[in-house]
């Protein structure tokens, strides 16, 4: 016997067909990236287009490394540095402020929290022209400071940590810390931060991906001599648009680390995004 609700939610083969098609459509461009990046250049002209990976990845990526115009390795290192620093800072400042908004009493708390929610809606990218001028006067043009410092805090990070702290940390726990004579910062460091770990991990992953992938601002303020990975990829693709194998080998190397991270932590990332959606 199946119940009424089971009959209602029964899944037909057509549902699976549609989902499998959607999944294939999502995954195919990755596969294509690998196919072109591992084949020699002449197989690009094949009709029908090549469908299996080849063995020329080493040669293709070797051309990327020899290429002085794009500084791929510098870009890779810069992206690792910038993304790591931004991630650590967003998680720490976000959890500190989120903890204050969720668990501490202070004058102006609600209006300041509202201000943070409002700033989440502001397209700050529209401020890049004066920001560009500011970086010039600070002497930060073409330096990693320019792509790091403005992103050390995030309104989304503060809001997300506040939401999590409000429900995950009991007031008794904090009171117990106070009775033991711990300072507020000690309570944050020893009690709050460990309890916020699940949300901090999701925020960290999302921040890392966003920083790794950001384009417009690094493109505006960095040069091909000192690029981030994405900026390096763009210059590579302009300069060598006929050498697809080289560009695709570099693109694959720049993309696959994040895909691997996503395969390992995908469940948490998806959970974080869906929870965030319900709350906001």
């Amino acid at each position: 016997m199946i119940s009424a609700s089971q009959r209602l939610w029964r899944t037909s083969p057509l549902t699976y067909l549609a989902l499998v098609l959607a999944a294939l459509f999502s995954i195919y461009p990755f596969y294509y990236m690998v196919v072109i990046g591992t084949r020699s250049l002449d197989s690009i002209n094949d009709v029908p287009p090549p469908v299996t990976p080849g063995g020329a990845f080493g040669a293709n990526f070797g051309r990327v490394l020899d290429n002085d115009a794009a500084n791929f390795l510098t870009g890779l290192m810069n992206s690792i540095i910038v993304s790591s620093v931004v991630t650590i800072s967003v998680v720490l400042t976000g959890s500190l402020a989120g903890f204050a908004f969720a668990k501490l009493r202070f004058r102006g708390r609600n209006i300041l929290l509202l201000a943070i929610v409002v700033t989440m809606m502001i397209p700050t990218q529209m401020g890049i022209i004066p920001l560009w001028g500011m970086m010039q006067s600070l002497g930060w043009y073409d330096t990693l400071f320019a792509v790091t410092v403005p992103f050390l805090v995030s309104a989304f990070g503060v809001f997300m940590m506040r939401q999590y702290a409000a429900q995950a940390i009991s007031d008794e726990l904090i009171e117990a810390g106070r009775v033991d004579g711990a300072s507020t910062f000690r309570i944050y460091w020893n009690i709050v931060l460990p309890a916020l770990r699940p949300a901090a991990a999701v925020l960290g992953l999302l921040t890392f991906m966003e920083t790794w992938n950001s384009f417009l601002w690094p493109y505006a303020i960095l040069t091909p001599e000192n690029p981030t990975l994405q900026v390096s990829l763009s210059f590579l693709s302009y300069a060598y648009y006929t050498d697809y194998s080289q560009v695709f080998a570099a693109t694959a190397v720049g993309t696959l680390p994040l895909v691997l991270v996503f395969i390992v932590f995908g469940r948490q990332i998806i959970g974080g995004i869906m929870e965030g959606a319900v709350k906001s």
Binding site: M33, N45, M134, F185, N190
Partner: protein
Amino acid sequence: MSLSATTAPPSHVPPPPEDAPRRRGHLLNRLDLKYSPYLYIAPFFVLFGIFGLYPMLRTAWMSLHDWDMIGDRSFIGIDNYTELIADEYFWNALINTFGIFALSTVPQILLALFLANLLNRTLLRAKTFFRMAIFVPNVVSVAAVAIVFGMLFQREFGVVNWLLSFVGVDQVDWDGQRWSSWTAIATMVNWRWTGYNTLILLAGMQAIPKDLYEAASIDGAGPWRQFWQITIPMVRPTLIFVVILSTIGGMQLFTEPLLFGNGRIIGGDQREFQTLAMYMYEKGIENLNTAGYGAAVAWAIFMIIVLMSLLNFLLVRRSAK
């Protein structure tokens, strides 16, 4: 590495202070209770103020000037805006932006609704796999997406033209005309964002109480009717959120058309796919002596985003009645 700070094991809270420094401890304690919250929220407000809010306001101020980033500036009131209204390249960019926006947002949200509805079946197998597979394009950088799709849409040996040849379509020169370049660029946007929107809508659908559906099915309503009469009205708030988010992103579209046109800021020989954000960049950063005019373009984009968000909100609200 990035998470090491958060994985420190909770050490024991220190013992209460000794008797001697107790009085000083009291004072510190009171100061701590009263002022430390401000200290904790200060980093956000200080950095956001300097690098987020101030540049936005300064953009407005710059837009009222004839402003050369490395030279002179003079106040000219709203002259930049009157010039903007007569500027055919601005209108061209506006039309391109809205064209690509329509081609990306409408199919994307319909598809996301459809997929979210499929993923919402309770008895679905391999749920996590499907969710991850549909979301994974969002992990890829926009630059990588543009590079890969630029190749798929290549004229002579791109996969898209090869597939189209089976249905008798001649080789399309994707970056040569308006409609075709818009389609190619919108495809990139759709590929990267449909999965994200699917998950957001799915989260909204899962918050709908299941007994609503059971009651409807006892009353004899079929799945289609349940979708229109229960699911759609109940996910309306999530839908507004998704549409506004897509609007904010769509009006600032930059990377996909830039890389599709091989880095030319004018986007195609005849500016076929130059967007508003590209025009802002062309005027404000690529040509530093017209920074004031670029700032006017930026502020115009901002106003358009605000108006569109309000419009979305009103439309969706009205259709609720």
